[in-house]
Symmetry: C2
Subunit: 430 residues, 2 copies
């Protein structure tokens, strides 16, 4: 079965809107064991729409069309579909009634422009939209089914999940059973992981995908068919053993979410002291509802005065070792922990660049400390050849991974691929 | 002139990589007064590549092809181009020499796989790549020029700017003079701004574009031709007067960068105390190199204990008014400012949701305070119908805008469209 996607709209074509529906759709197809063959984006011109519908419907079996179902004059998908088929637009009385009663319930009169959304090509099959005013519809043109969906992401996604996927499963036969396992890594680049994993012989019916999204590269192991599904656990174990410490979670979409969930479950509390990561570490946890259960404070102490006054780092330590030092990282973490007597504290201090590096302390040098009530683990890593933003992102990932390992009773400091460690210490606190 | 884009690669088609090159390219074209007609994405299959090159070259005048020039076996663009033309691949001796000497200089031998990158379709014109190993090239096929570029964004962008744009300007005649003015807004949604601005009569040769990127909607006013350029200043003034307080900068890509630049120029210092924004406000400024010049500290005081201990918010205030109150916001700001005697301080406290709201203090209620040595401005805004992330993003934007206006000696608290203000106070500090 050849599946294609047609995205419509000037704002998508001109790059004013990043085409996130397309990426989501391709991913969703992949999770179902289906492959997208081609994606075409066109603007809002009637002749472009008609010609692309005619052209692609001679090649593909199923075409999902996204966008152009709104109430305004530049929403032309239904009209273009009718013209491509050589039929008229006719009003769908059921949808009109549905829309009118929606407005009546809210004590409003339906705007004139919404009537346009009740017009579908003759012989089109209406596809319900439970969350918006634009109905979807499907038509048969040449050899293809064209399935029209609205551009609003929430409406689009529901229609794909609840109607498009069941429709193609019904029309093109039940696809084979499939299974997907995601592995989230740090340290490796996409091509380096691929080189490593290509050394494994891959069972038939299993495919690998990579999705880089700093600080992670997510690896998708996808199995199609009963044999492949049976072979999957052993294969995934082999993959994991190659990944080693680079694997930071196989159960969550990100390391931050893994830490959030583990911390929430543990009932323990956390304080954070940041310098070079500048609030990013704290902000990554605050992103999750419920983070206030465990996160007591996140103190971004950029100035030395702030490190002394807020965290109680000693003046002598700053004088003697500097702000970017193992000693300062330790005192930042222990100071942040002690201030509200939290169970854990994390600290970061380093040189994010692009300026401020020296021979002894180059750009990309970052100190990261984790402490609980009895022990402090601290390490110096060197994030060379990364820009300011990536130095901060990777530093947060390593800090979170130290805490993740501690929460799992593993050793918090490990060797990651491509993140050289310059120094480390484990200090017993009294 | 009809310009099309063809993106190649399974990872782009399958949504594993968001197609940022395409958006950048469409934007860059628009800045030059050119329009992208169609964008097609295909995978790495040889027959798909050949057929799309043949097909689109019968319709377009210029086609930019992105991706597939790397050294590995799934990089097929050059080979597919040769097959589409019906010619052989031949080695470009100059590029081979260039690559070999690059490796020699670094004391390394060129890997076998790189030789593939020296093979171009016969009669192709090589396009220099000053920053990578894959040369670009262009070929004439049917009625179109196909211009092949590497997928690596930094290489792609340089090639477009330094070679593609000059090439089409030369080949298709100097385009008319153009001018672009960007206006960055907060508060309005894209379609609401469009509705507002559509009421203005727009001078011939001027077009408007919108790029939503939370918390901003960026408006692009684009003029093509001398008459339009002459009419632009007056038109932009009309647009600005409609935007009113929604316009937060016409000189910077974001409000955070505007504040960063103004603060750095002012020589003044800033402390930040955050609750619901959870480090996002601090992090947005730390993103800019040199922010350590003015940013002394960013204190994320999530727990009430932290507000008392770190910021000196009084226990009585928290007891009487609660953590989400004008009074607490004021004490957070004045406490953060006083602790290191910075020139300014900002504070945020609110209910980001999805839980934790009450009738009196609903989800989306956020208190924001700005203080200097003599005055504190505080306001309560209500960010209804926005998710947790957007509540935080919009709160940061309003906080930064208060400081931006203060730095420009404007009044810090203003009425924004679609950001209702529940309460505000101006307090003279003693």
């Amino acid at each position: 079965m050849k599946v294609e996607l047609i995205c419509t709209g000037e704002e998508v074509l001109s790059g004013q809107i990043i085409d996130s529906n397309a990426a989501w759709f391709a991913n969703t197809l992949m999770n179902e064991g289906l492959e997208l063959q081609r994606k075409t984006t066109v603007g809002d011109r009637m002749e472009d729409l008609i010609s692309i519908f005619r052209e692609r419907s001679q090649q593909a079996d199923v075409i999902l069309v996204n966008g152009g179902l709104g109430p305004t004059s530049d929403d032309l998908s239904a009209q273009a579909a009718a013209k491509a088929m050589g039929v008229e637009l006719v009003e769908d009385a059921g949808w009109r009634e549905h829309l009118e009663s929606w407005y009546v319930k809210r004590g409003r009169k339906m705007p004139e422009s919404n009537y346009k959304q009740c017009l579908l090509p003759k012989e089109a099959v209406l596809v319900d939209n439970p969350v918006g005013s634009a109905p979807g519809f499907r038509i048969k043109l040449n050899q293809a089914w064209l399935f029209f969906t609205p551009g609003v992401p929430s409406e689009f996604k529901r229609m794909v999940e609840e109607q498009f996927l069941p429709f193609i499963n019904e029309s093109f036969g039940q696809t084979e059973p499939t299974r997907l396992q995601k592995l989230v890594t740090i340290g490796y680049g996409e091509s380096t992981i691929a080189d490593q994993l290509n050394k494994l012989s891959i069972p038939e019916g299993i495919t690998l995908g990579y999705r880089p999204s700093a600080p992670h590269v997510e690896i998708k192991v996808f199995a199609r068919g009963d044999n492949a599904i049976a072979a999957m656990p052993a294969y995934v174990e082999q993959v994991k053993s190659i990944l080693g410490t680079a694997l930071v979670t196989d159960s969550f979409p990100s390391i931050a979410e893994a830490v959030h969930t583990l911390l929430q479950a543990s009932g323990k509390t956390l304080s954070i002291a940041e310098s070079c990561t500048g609030g990013m570490l704290t902000s990554q946890l605050v992103e999750f509802p419920g983070s206030s259960d465990y996160l007591l404070q996140g103190l971004v102490t950029y100035a030395n005065d702030a490190k002394e006054k807020i965290l109680g780092v000693s003046h002598a330590t700053l004088e003697e070792h500097g702000a970017v030092s193992l000693e300062t990282a330790i005192e930042m973490a222990t100071g942040a922990r002690a201030s509200l007597d939290s169970d854990f504290a994390l600290s970061t201090t380093g040189i994010a660049g692009p300026d401020g590096g020296t021979e002894e302390k180059p750009v990309g040098l970052v100190l990261i400390a984790l402490c609980d009530r009895t022990t402090c683990w601290v390490q110096a890593i060197k994030l060379a050849n990364r820009n300011r933003s990536l130095v901060r992102v990777m530093s947060c990932a390593v800090a979170l991974d130290m805490l993740r390992r501690r929460l799992l009773d593993e050793t918090p400091i490990v060797d990651y691929p491509f993140i050289p460690r310059m120094e480390d210490q484990i200090i017993t606190l009294d």
